[in-house]
Amino acid sequence: MDVLWGFLNQNVSGFSDLPGWLQTAIPAAVCGVLLITFMALGPILYVYVETKVAGFMQDRIGPKRVGPHGMLQTVADAVKLMFKEAIYPAGADKKLFIVAPCLVVLGAFMSFVVIPFGARGVTANLNVGIFYVVAVSSLSTVGLIMAGWASNNKYALFGAMRSAAQIVSYEIPAVMTLLTIVMIVGSLSLNDIAMAQAGGLHRWFLFRYFPIMPVAFLIFFTAGLAECNRAPFDIPEAESELVAGFHTEYSGFFFAMFFMAEYTEMFVISAVASVLFLGGWWAPLPALQQIGPVGLGALWLIAKAWTLVFVMMWLRWTLPRLRVDQLMHVAWKVLLPISMVLVVLVGTLIMWGPKNGFLWDPYAAWVLTVGVFLLLMYWLVAARRFSARRVREVAA
């Protein structure tokens, strides 16, 4: 926003003569429109990718009829949902029923404001960035509970209560792991955190204090997965137990809003995780950062976030849903103790140990990255060979 304000101030005559609130409001509106467009169009892409990933992982091919390779399928779905009637169940609290999905979407969208897409490409560089993200993303919980309560449906209420319990539980380990990073950087601003990871892949917080921060990343990612109600933590909308959880009674555009919020939240969690652990807009190699125009950093961030979104989908189609007690077990007896130990460890290291990670961090980072990449490629090749063998067996 500052960039935009500076641009307008210099190039648009009369901009500086406007009243102060308008000088703030105009760039803010432009940024808001850009972000909302990005967020609203994002789910169309994510849902398409999700269906394709789901299909491919089950040896199917997913949608293919609408548009080339079925690319317009989600567009058609979105249009269909918009034109469908919104049904209000009998006995529902109509005001809450309408406000709830808006609140859920709001919670997902508001986090975008502080995500830095570049050194200066941030809408609002809050000095309490992480705090803001955590606070705002909890807003959607309120929306979920409202939706469950307003629906006048016991399944919806069940789902809402589960989601509340789940999000409250998983917020704690997530925030604990955030603490470690905040301790290392000494700032809550997401922009400062990204800046602290400059200088290549081995400087990312994922590989700091080598065996420690990777664990922190795993905990944060798991907790984030639970916070956006994705499988295997999708008990609030467990379709085999509760019909559809908190959005059982929703239809038409309101249902689409829940859907949009879920996928936006996926992206937000992934983007925040990329900024915190994967170096934000920094390229894996400093040399790569020089390629292209200045604004290209945003693409690095989006690429990282999309990779994490893909991992979320990957996990969804891999793991079965957890039971409620298992969910609580994971949150309170596994993630929380580990994250507390991490906080203590990192604090101790910062106080009396090396300030910026161990000496072996760069080696571990590169070995691990290259190793994981090679392993995935090997599995790819193995899958092709396995596939060819199966084709031969079928033919024989």
Partner: protein
């Protein structure tokens, strides 16, 4: 504590194992059949939509009688002698005018029982299976054609080969089960007993049928001059002939219709089935 750590490791490890499996399945060849663009090759003798060749129908009504669900509706009338004589493709004279021949495919149970008794093999199952409709009545197929071009000359006597004339009566006299069978397979008929055996032997390999071709049905084994109950009765004859897989129309000119060998050849043919 040890148990807790072991659980932790097991959970983490099994997640990785699962992710490995799904990752590999991302790149495995897909099993989806792009249905409207590509289709399964149907197995031979698939029983799909019924078809009736009106020009060959003699109106005997045996198919309607055999139908377990009564989905074939036939109305016939004795052909007035003033009208010119007509014949089916296998030489059976058509003595009845078939005014209505309707098959309700919405009732049909695809049992194929109607095709066996047909003396002229004019009714058979096609591999055509894409006839979904929004209206149930469009599954009622009308096969009676008012302007059908019947054969006004009996295709039986003017045989292309000289041996046909002696062969036909000999065969007709020979097999007790199918008295008039030989005329149906004219070129096969001249093949005497020794020749008929290899013909039968070579027939079964021909069973696989291209999906486009008409489904194999018994190629005119028990053809009698008139429609006669004994014709479907000799189940021994149609059965081996199903295996020959000859399209019914070709019944007159394919060597594969060795289904009507002289009496001594019936014995080797029977154990084949």
């Amino acid at each position: 504590m040890r148990e807790w750590l072991a659980d932790l490791w097991e959970g983490f490890y099994t997640v990785l194992v699962g992710m490995k499996i799904t990752w590999r399945h991302l790149f495995v060849d897909k099993v989806t059949l792009h249905y409207p663009e590509e289709k399964w090759t149907l197995p031979p003798k698939s029983r799909m939509r019924l078809f009736m060749k009106y020009e060959d129908c003699i109106g005997c009504g045996q198919c309607a009688r055999a139908c377990p669900v009564d989905c074939i509706y036939i109305k016939t009338e004795k052909r007035p002698p003033t009208k010119p004589a007509i014949w089916a493709a296998d030489g059976t004279p058509i003595k009845l005018d078939t005014h209505v021949f309707d098959i309700d495919m919405s009732l049909c149970c695809y049992c194929n029982l109607c095709t066996y008794p047909c003396p002229t093999n004019c009714i058979y199952m096609t591999p055509e299976y894409e006839f979904a409709a929004t209206d149930l009545t469009s599954h009622l197929y009308h096969f009676a054609k008012p302007n059908a071009k019947f054969l006004t000359v009996n295709p039986k006597p003017p045989a292309p080969k000289p041996a046909a004339a002696p062969g036909a009566p000999a065969a007709a006299a020979g097999p007790a089960a199918a008295p008039g069978a030989a005329p149906a397979a004219k070129p096969a008929a001249p093949a005497a007993a020794p020749l008929a055996k290899p013909a039968v032997a070579s027939a079964p390999p021909g069973t696989p049928i291209a999906p486009g071709a008409p489904t194999p049905v018994a190629p005119s084994p028990g053809t009698t001059p008139k429609e006669a109950p004994p014709a479907p009765g000799d189940a021994a004859n149609p059965a081996p002939n199903v295996a020959t897989g000859t399209p019914p129309k070709a019944g007159g000119d394919t060597a594969g219709t060795g289904g009507t060998p002289p009496p001594d050849a019936v014995d080797p043919a029977a154990p084949k089935e």
